[in-house]
């Protein structure tokens, strides 16, 4: 492999990189596998050794142990960390090989890795630790993913399509469960496979129905993993994803119902009715529990203005408590978590600081990403581990029946739903919805905790269906989406215009509905908004912000983002190159004695003299040009913002702002003190008593102002003063005193290929990386 590198030249470099990556991957897998097995081996050795030293102690004096192995104490955390490390390294590895990750969805790759690791472990030790226990799965791995989904759930499309989603989730899952369960029972009775050792006709109707209910639920983890990569339009995404979230209630009820029936042995009509009632309780109860914790979280966040550091902790803890409390009462934990996240978000975001907001976002993304990776890997490992009973009739008929049930269900339901929808679902939409019904780890875990005698064959069948849906459907859905030319997600940023006009239309439609006398969608929404504004916001949002209308909040958010981007792309470029020479805390002198030089390094001080202003002007102009140049050669890995065609408007906006600043600085620089520069930096040219928007970085949305000048004068560390006339918008609160400029930039920027940002109350979801 390496010998071929030389003659190929440039293309060879790319290919060798890929090969290197593959090699790395293989080595990592082997390494981790062997280390794990070694540890297991050493742990067992140590166990056996434990017995012996005790007898020796009495006889001889042991010399002081300079080096020893004490694995037992740390074995559990060690192994957990090793698994997580493996998962993360795998993820890293996949993204180094772009060709692979374009064709195969990540979930498939991860399952394959899991299979590999499981195989290695099995060979090494002949017995694999049962890693995907249901407790680990349901208590540790699933909640982060669901919380991530719930917190960033795009509320507006979700609520607009709630009827459709509920139909699919409830009726669709019921249909699937009974269809698959019933027909599998029929198949078992009919099929007489002489070669299999299992007598299929032994399987009663109730176990079959139980099996059907487990296998019929669309899995949110798998759907998220696959749909995330195909960037499908918002409607379809929210339909399939919403269905996968809400069908948890149905699954929980059906599962417990059939389990109870299996124990008691007989079913009566009363039981069926009780089942229905139980469904309502499970679903509504879950939502109520979640909403309760959400309100608590929102209320708590109202008082956290002095302890900003632990704000994210409250969000996570309350959500987890919501999940656990729901699980205690056998309510739907998933629905509770979703309700909690969705309810608390608008209020919490109005209360917490910008940094906490970023922290929450990144922690959720990180945890859910790691969880997802671990789930798929463990799925692979568990596949290798378990005993499988291969019965081709059962397996193939299960897969076929699942597909058929899904298609019939979707088509039938859409026919009914379209009678009530304003925007009908087309055939293409139906196909994608049907095809996107992936099964995943939840089905596996539910199967894992079965107490039936047919557990093994059920588990095998479940795994087969999961593999089929994830591999076959997961891999082919992307080309199919391209082939069918399904509408893709529109990546444009939200503009202030859109926001204004959307609100305008809201009011317009409310008015029209009033004229028609028809209490539609907008009417109730309006009522809810008014109630929200009048009562709820006052209680749950701290201080002034409770009265801030959403449009203003949105506007401030936009302005702040703009300011940050402007500094980073415009101002940062110049400073970064000279940064090492400029700022270190010790070198800052309050006064510049040396004459202003051409080096930008000298300029990093708050007091301005005439010569300095000239330099400032110079820098602003060059930065302006530099901004344009840099932004045109955009690359997702080097810069933060992506000005595609839609971003052109943003670009123009920024450019105008820079020019205004430049103009203003020139105008006011000569005789006023440096005070003027900061406070008037964002002034419309030529106007007196002009509006200044002062933005406080301490909050994502607040119009509170920051005592900018105090900070700069007292704080010797805060040196970026120039493009700082543009960055006045985003000086951090006092906590950042003493930090140097680069750290300031870094900590305020959102690193990484963050394609889109989350929005407030109503809107678009972020694209998770």
């Amino acid at each position: 492999m390496f010998s071929r590198m030389a003659p190929r030249g440039r293309s060879g470099l790319g290919r060798s990189l890929a090969e290197l990556g593959l090699l790395l991957l293989a080595i990592l897998v082997l390494l981790d596998g062997t280390v794990l097995s070694l540890e297991a081996a050493t742990s067992s050795e140590i166990d056996t050794h434990e017995g012996k030293p005790g007898t020796h102690k009495n006889t001889s004096k042991k010399s002081f142990p300079v080096l020893g192995i004490k694995y037992d104490d740390v074995s559990v955390p060690f192994e957990i960390s090793l698994w997580v490390l493996l998962a993360s390294l795998m993820k890293l590895g996949f993204h180094l090989i772009p060709r692979l990750s374009n064709v195969v969805p990540e979930s498939c790759l991860l399952i394959s890795v899991g299979l590999l690791v499981g195989g290695i472990l099995k060979l090494a030790r002949d017995e694999v630790p049962p890693v995907l226990s249901d407790r680990i799965f349901f208590l540790c791995l699933l909640p982060p993913i669901i919380l991530d989904a719930g917190y960033f759930l795009p509320i507006r499309p979700f609520v607009e399509n709630i009827g459709t989603i509920l139909m699919f989730a409830v009726v669709g899952t019921l249909w699937n469960a009974f269809f698959v369960g019933g027909l599998i029972y029929a198949v078992c009775q009919i099929a007489q496979d002489k070669y299999s050792e299992i007598d299929l006709s032994n399987i009663g109707i109730l176990p079959c129905l139980l099996f059907g209910s487990i296998i019929s639920a669309v899995d949110p983890v798998a759907v998220l993993a696959v749909f995330e990569e195909i960037h499908i339009n918002e409607l379809l995404h929210i339909l399939v994803f919403g269905e996968s979230l809400l069908n948890d209630a149905v699954t929980v009820v059906l599962y417990h119902l059939f389990e109870e029936f299996m124990e008691s042995g007989s079913v009566s009509a009363v039981d069926a009715i009780l089942g229905l009632v139980s469904f309502l309780i499970v679903a509504l109860g879950g939502v109520l529990v979640g909403a309760f914790y959400g309100i608590l979280a929102a209320f708590t966040s109202r008082f956290t203005s002095h302890t900003r550091v632990i704000e994210p902790l409250f969000v996570f803890l309350y959500s987890y408590m919501a999940y656990l409390s729901a699980e205690v009462f056998h309510l739907s934990g998933i629905m509770s978590l979703i309700a909690c996240g969705a309810v608390m978000r608008p209020y919490v975001e109005a209360n917490i600081s910008h940094k906490s907001h970023t922290t929450i976002k990144y922690f959720l993304k990180m945890w859910s990403s790691v969880s997802e990776t671990l789930i798929f890997i463990f799925l692979g490992v568990a596949t290798v581990e378990g005993e499988h009973h291969w019965n081709w009739v059962f397996l193939t008929s299960t897969v076929v029946l699942c597909l058929v049930a899904r298609v019939i269900g979707v088509v039938g339901l859409t026919y009914i739903i379209n009678k009530f929808r304003i925007v009908k679902l087309t055939t293409k939409d139906q196909f994608i919805i049907a095809y996107g019904g992936l099964r995943g780890a939840i089905a596996f875990s539910l199967g894992f905790i079965l107490h039936s005698e047919h557990k093994k064959i059920f588990l095998t069948a479940i795994i087969t269906v999961i593999f089929f849906t994830v591999f076959v459907q997961g891999m082919t859905i992307k080309p199919l989406v391209e082939l069918l030319a399904v509408k893709k997600k529109h990546e444009a940023k939200r503009s202030i215009n859109e926001e204004i006009h959307t609100r305008f239309l809201d009011h317009l439609l409310t008015g029209i509905e009033d004229i028609c006398g028809h209490y539609g969608h907008h009417h109730w929404k309006n009522k809810l908004n008014r109630f929200n504004k009048k009562y709820v916001k006052k209680i749950l949002i701290a201080g002034d912000r409770s009265k801030e209308p959403q449009l203003i909040a949105f506007y401030h958010k936009l302005e702040m983002k703009n300011a940050i981007q402007m500094v980073e792309s415009g101002g940062g470029s110049k400073l970064n190159s000279t940064f090492p020479s400029t700022v270190s805390m010790q070198n800052i002198q309050p006064k510049i004695h040396s004459p202003p030089s051409a080096r930008p390094s000298e300029r990093a001080l708050p007091q301005l003299t005439k010569g300095r202003e000239e330099e400032i002007r110079q820098i602003l102009r060059t930065n302006l040009q530099k901004t344009r140049q840099r932004l045109q050669s955009y690359n997702r890995h080097t810069l933060v913002v992506d000005p595609d065609e839609e971003g052109f408007d943003d670009l123009i906006l920024k450019k105008r702002r820079m020019m205004e600043l430049d103009w203003k600085v020139c105008k006011t620089s000569s005789h006023k003190s440096s005070n003027a520069i900061y406070s008037q930096a964002y002034v419309k040219p030529g106007a007196e008593n002009v509006p200044t928007i002062k933005i406080d970085l301490a909050s994502p949305q607040s119009p509170d102002s920051v005592r900018l000048l105090d900070e700069v004068v007292q704080d010797q560390g805060l040196t970026m003063s120039l493009p700082s006339s543009s960055s006045r918008a985003y000086k951090t609160s006092g906590k950042d005193d003493g930090r140097d400029q680069q750290k300031l930039l870094r900590c305020l920027s959102d690193p990484g290929p963050d394609v889109d940002d989350d929005e407030d109350y109503d809107d678009d979801e972020p694209v998770p990386t």
Binding site: T426, T502, I512, G520
Partner: protein, 179 residues
């Protein structure tokens, strides 16, 4: 359609209205116009005046039934699969017409553009007393800057339409009742 023919005769220009708006106007006689409630609701609506004003043709003091129907026809749900021959005029409830209607609500002086003052007025109505004048100015400023391509300090219909392209207008600007 047989029975409705007789009722169509009752409505002046009934046949023509049917052509134009695509719906049977006599059904709309039974719209529940409860005037007291309506007044209360509309007065709470920030742009209530504009909406009411949209029904009146410029210069007219009263609304007659055809104009009423014509305005409301904009809010019928769009039918996606209708085949149109080129001869028929664009139906009232097409996406374009809906947007045009909304645009006209902004653009009171009918000059085809939303000027800064018009935008400010709308913002003032929508946000009212909750914000300061300066904040309104800044928002209007930013909105114009974002949307204004030809530097005339106003938003033209094309840009208006473009900024709403992500929004599902067919869904948003339809009242199901009016099918």
């Amino acid at each position: 359609m047989g029975s409705s023919r007789s009722s169509l005769r009752r409505v002046p220009d009934g046949q023509q209205l049917l052509q134009e708006t695509g719906c049977e106007p006599e059904r709309w006689f039974c719209l529940g116009l409860r005037s007291e409630d309506l007044e209360a609701e509309l007065s709470e609506n920030p742009i209530g005046d504009r909406i009411v004003g949209a029904f009146f043709q410029p210069g007219q003091e009263t609304v007659d039934f055809p104009s009423f129907v014509r305005v409301l026809a904009h809010f019928r749900p769009t039918e996606k699969n209708r085949t149109r021959d080129g001869v028929q005029p664009e139906p009232a409830n097409s996406r374009n017409r809906k947007l045009k209607f909304a645009f006209q609500l902004y653009d009171q002086d009918r000059d085809g553009k939303i000027s800064r003052t018009e935008l400010l007025q709308v913002l003032r109505e929508m946000l009212g007393l909750q914000v300061t004048e300066e904040q309104l100015q800044s928002i209007a400023e930013r909105a114009i800057q974002e949307a204004d391509l030809d530097r005339d300090d106003a938003i033209c219909f094309d840009k208006f339409r473009k900024s709403l392209e992500k929004v599902d207008i067919d869904h948003k600007m339809s009242v199901r009742f009016l099918e």
